[in-house]
Amino acid sequence: MFELLGIAPQALFGQLLVGLINGAFYAMLSLGLAVIFGMLNVINFTHGAQYMLGAFAAWLMLTVLNIPFWIGLVLAPLVVGLFGVVLERLLLKRLYHLDHLYGFLMTFGLALVIEGVFQWKWGSSGQPYPNPIPGGTNLGFMFLPTYRAFVVVAALVICLATWFAIERTRLGGYLRAATENPTLVRAFGINVPRLITLTYGLGVGLAALAGVLAAPIYQVSPLMGQNLVLVVFAVVVIGGMGSILGSIVTGFGLGLIEGLTKVFYPQASSTVIFVIMAIVLLIKPAGLFGRTR
């Protein structure tokens, strides 16, 4: 069958795996964006920079402090999440009552500043991060590097855990309710401003976690989040702003579609997601899983 299509199975499955890995990152990042947007009504354009911060934090921990990957995987998102909490308390919370434009300008400007500082200190070239689980398995039709398999599974677990926390727990209930009517939720005795801060910290921590996972696959560089985040915004638009499940499904799905495009029509692989975005916007402006509010 593969011969029929004129495509080697190695190439097909190799690209599918690349697509799955990319999809894993799209899903984790768009999930954080969706949660933040739902609660803060701010499109967090700093998300790519925060993803980069996660990778850099883990890399610095490893190279400067000798902290191994597995500890960095926990520590770096905590540190970057805390940085998110400070950003929210210090800057973002002043913008909620203003037009969307101000949130955009603030988070976009912050991304430029953060990425600029790292570029100035470390240059644009990437820093390698050693693979924490070298080796792999020959599946016959393809070679599966163990760390990449781990990333796909870890991303799935992270996404499902986030979904569970939001859809099935008490805190998640507060979050969903506060997304609908923060005034009333506060009048029930819940400290909504603190909930908002926590949400932003969690979303940013999620971006940083994705960054740490990405470090051994891609190189650690100041601009690593910039290209990725553009695609992620397209994913969020396609999935539907603020939809949790939509972000996960769309993230993985679009990664796979992108991978397949690389096999069958490589010229379109960098644009296919944006073409899909345009089509979805025409047919279903609220996104595939979005609800019009």
């Binding site: 008490r170 209930g173 997304t179 009048a187």
Partner: protein, 234 residues
């Protein structure tokens, strides 16, 4: 009043530049059921929202259980023991009936159990897995009242709980409100439906243009019927 749970004096409130309440004075005794009556736009909802700390700018005095709460944020007001059932009901569509019911956190002991709430409103039990906003208007009203009974709040602020409901449902809501009063809740009820209010309340305050202009005891309603009807434009 000897044992007032809520005492409001000189309460003023603003929405942006519009001055809505111009000095509201009234009080509610412990265990009492008091209504605020008045025409559309008189300021009844704004009074409840001011007590709850939702209205942006307010001044004057709101004493609850001996403490001054006029400057508190709304979450602090709720934790002091006041629960609010808004006019628009505020049922969350992304939450199931049960999740809506369990949403408000318990702020002090002594609230009703979920079982007792289901006993009061059996419809909610049957439909507890449904999406909150899939309920009928009457059921949504029951849910909006039911969910503030668990928290241990002693004062309930109910804003037009009978608005837009069929007479049978209004009767059910009335029975529930009387049951809550006999259970010891203090209730401040906003009503347009004067006939309904007359059947449940101990006292009535009349609100007009952001002020309380009159007070009528439940026992004196018949004698003051003409006056009340003029106030309410009936």
């Amino acid at each position: 009043m000897a044992d007032a749970l809520l005492t409001i004096a000189g309460l003023q409130a603003w929405y942006g530049e519009s001055h809505i309440l111009h000095g509201v004075d009234f009080e509610v005794g412990r265990g009492e059921l008091v209504t605020l009556l008045g025409r559309n736009g008189a300021g009844k909802t704004t009074t409840l929202r001011s007590i709850m700390g939702i209205v942006g700018r307010r001044s004057g005095s709101i004493r609850f259980d001996g403490a001054e709460i006029v400057a508190r944020t709304s979450d602090a007001v709720a934790r002091a023991g006041i629960a609010y059932c808004p006019e628009e009901r505020g049922i969350f569509s992304s939450l199931s009936v049960e999740e809506n019911l369990l949403l408000p956190p318990v702020v002090r002991p002594g609230g009703m159990s979920v079982g007792e709430i289901f006993e009061l409103f059996p419809n909610l039990k049957e439909r507890r897995r449904s999406q909150g906003t899939k309920l009928s208007g009457g059921e949504q009203q029951m849910l909006a009242i039911g969910r503030i009974l668990r928290t241990g709040a002693t004062l309930l602020l109910l804003d037009e709980p009978t608005e837009g409901l069929a007479p049978v449902i209004v009767q059910r809501i009335g029975e529930a409100i009387r049951a809550l009063k006999s259970r010891g809740f203090t209730i401040l009820l906003v009503e347009q439906n004067f006939h309904f209010a007359a059947t449940v309340a101990d006292r009535h305050y009349v609100v007009e243009d952001g002020r309380v202009v009159d007070m009528v005891r439940g026992s004196d309603v018949q004698a003051n019927l003409g006056k009340l009807q003029t106030y309410l434009g009936l």
